[in-house]
Symmetry: C2
Subunit: 385 residues, 2 copies
């Protein structure tokens, strides 16, 4: 097992109607900025319920945080936070709203140019604080509700940032708030959680037995409940299991002390930025291709994945790996998520542009051993096409 | 899935020689009380290394915290904390030292009679703070390094307390610090972690799929590495996996949102208090008997346990349950831990005394549905004899 540090102070409040407890979770004298996305939290009454639970507090709203939230949008919220002396941010939404709110929290207290935070130019001493924040999760997928990172769009790229100061103080996970989601978003959530898990698991053997077993448990659970929860939005237990798996897939637990490989996310980010393909759908496109191209490097863990997740313990090794990759692809497709780049209208020629952007964004040595050069990324994209 | 709240702010610093990082983890101006047990941390040099890592800080020592730490012992430390204006407690040891240090932390800031904390008479408002504490773990077993509870001996009983204020600020888990443990203590650690896990898992079905899979992962890992780590104390990876499993077995993760049944612990506490049997050994005695006596109530989860932990998916149900119980018993015995009350010199007649003490301590409705009356406990003890 590799050395690690694990610290996750987010309080999870899980269950039906738990947003009623917002009153105890946010300081009574706080001026709150409610951050949200499009109209669905308004349309389905979630925002009203949340406002009611906040009682007599001074509450302002900032709506319009888009999917793949943009720097310029968020900077308008930063102005509001500074001008109105906001002292608590409450994100109501999915990963984009939560990530965006984390960025607002950090940027509002950053003395320099907040672009620094995205471009890795901010020094730790400059990132010594953030406006405290909490979340009410309406879309189980990204795990943002219980981690310290976010992804923000700027120009033609997507940029990742981390700070221990943006761990949510609390996150309310109420499966019933997700009942109104369209099936395609739920399918995306299943895929996102699945890929987060394999990126911390299908790497190199490292004797992280608890981590591996827990990752395998998340994957098996997603395989069991994925189709159920896409088909029947009101199956509480299926949705609850999706929600809790998505959180645990990216709260640091399964990645502590083991190698990680975020190739799929980094290539996927370019596909979203260039072609507007949903984040999770880009992952479903790229992941099977990463495994196909890098099967030798990942052989031991692919065999473990085949055996423990898909019960493929017999037969020759190569066919086990092939079948595991094919089953994974079929699982995504069964949720209605296409797994080929060509299915999203991207031409083979456009792969050049993707590779160029990876290079422009410094994504030239990806993978658990930094072996994924632009040339390897090209092979992955060609395989994924 | 049941509703739950999960919050665990302890920072885990895991790996070889991590105690060197104590300097960054404890405030520079703190007056520290080092709390420890018998001579082993002195004999093997751990205490010296820790003192060195603390640098120029004002450091006092409180040694002699015994196994199953006693109220009277700990109250002597409370006096030191108050007199010397200690502002950080550092526990160096196993579960007893960590539990004892948590009690010291809470009692030192408690205005009334600290016995209230053990007897459930302290009101939450009276338990609003504790002296901050950290731990350096030398014995993987109880999970105390990452939870908010402790067990203290007082008179003829063992008493459990909880407070969110006694979560360690950090815990240093260095597998190499455990290399000098005697095999019997390592075996006890494996059993303790195993039982913690099944008490949150072999209960009633509750659609906690992530929790069940994670529990099963801990159990399978303990079965894999238990004999290895007892036989070869210097196998770093085996010891690391034991250590991280023991922590995760009782940090709230696998018990969140599912029923729990602490019957085995409650009966076990009486056996330790009356007969001085090691805590873990009492658990190995009681658990198989709990399952035998309550097999109908626990049937669904026992079958799941049989299938997913012991690969017993075929044959008639009753024989699967029988075999799973027998395998569990054989696993404990293979570690050198006897699983019969009679093996520890307790007579059948003494069961009366155990049942009387359970009643005296209010342990009259144990189990996930509070169905374990003193009469059921008697049957369990007779089965365990």
């Amino acid at each position: 097992m590799l050395n690690f540090e694990f610290h996750n102070p987010t309080r999870i409040v899980f269950g039906k109607d738990r947003f009623r407890e917002l009153n105890r979770l946010i300081p009574a004298d706080a001026t709150v900025l409610l951050c949200y996305g499009g109209g669905s939290v308004k349309r389905f009454g979630t925002l009203d319920k949340v406002r009611q639970a906040l009682g007599e507090r001074n509450v302002l709203e900032f709506g319009g945080i888009e999917a793949n939230p943009r720097y310029a949008t968020l900077m308008r919220a930063v102005e509001v936070v500074r001008r109105e002396q906001i002292d608590f941010l409450l994100a109501v939404g999915g990963g984009s709203v939560m990530d965006g709110t984390k960025f607002i929290a950090l940027a509002a207290e950053y003395a320099g140019n907040p672009e620094d935070i995205l471009f890795g130019k901010a020094k730790p001493a400059q990132l010594a604080s953030a406006v405290p924040l909490g979340t009410v999760v309406t879309l189980p997928a990204t795990g943002s509700e219980m981690n310290s990172g976010g992804v923000i769009s700027h120009g033609d790229g997507k940029f990742v940032f981390f700070s221990p100061h943006v761990f949510p103080r609390f996150s309310i996970l109420d499966p019933t708030l997700t009942f109104t989601l369209p099936p395609t978003q739920v399918a995306n959530g299943v895929v996102d959680a699945f890929i987060h898990t394999v990126e911390q698991y299908v790497t190199l053997p490292a004797e992280g037995r608890f981590q591996d077993r827990t990752a395998e448990g998340i994957l098996r659970t997603l395989i069991e409940i994925g189709p159920v929860t896409v088909a029947d939005p009101k199956d509480y237990d299926a949705r609850a299991n999706l929600m809790w798996c998505a959180t645990n897939a990216l709260n640091g637990l399964i990645g502590a002390g083991v190698p990680q490989d975020w190739t799929t996310h980094m290539i996927g980010h370019e596909l979203t930025a260039l072609f507007g393909i949903d984040h999770a759908k880009t992952l479903a496109i790229v992941q099977p291709a990463v495994w196909t191209v890098r099967r030798e490097q990942k052989r031991a863990k692919l065999l473990q994945y085949a055996e423990r997740v898909w019960d493929l313990g017999a037969g020759d090794e190569d066919s086990r790996v092939d079948t595991a990759i094919a089953r994974t692809r079929a699982f995504f497709e069964s949720l209605g998520v296409a797994t080929r780049l060509s299915a999203y209208g991207v031409s083979r020629e456009q792969i050049d542009t993707v590779v160029r952007n990876l290079e422009a964004h410094g994504m030239v040595a990806l993978g658990e051993k930094r072996e994924v050069t632009p040339e390897v990324s090209r092979r992955i994209l060609e395989e994924a096409w």
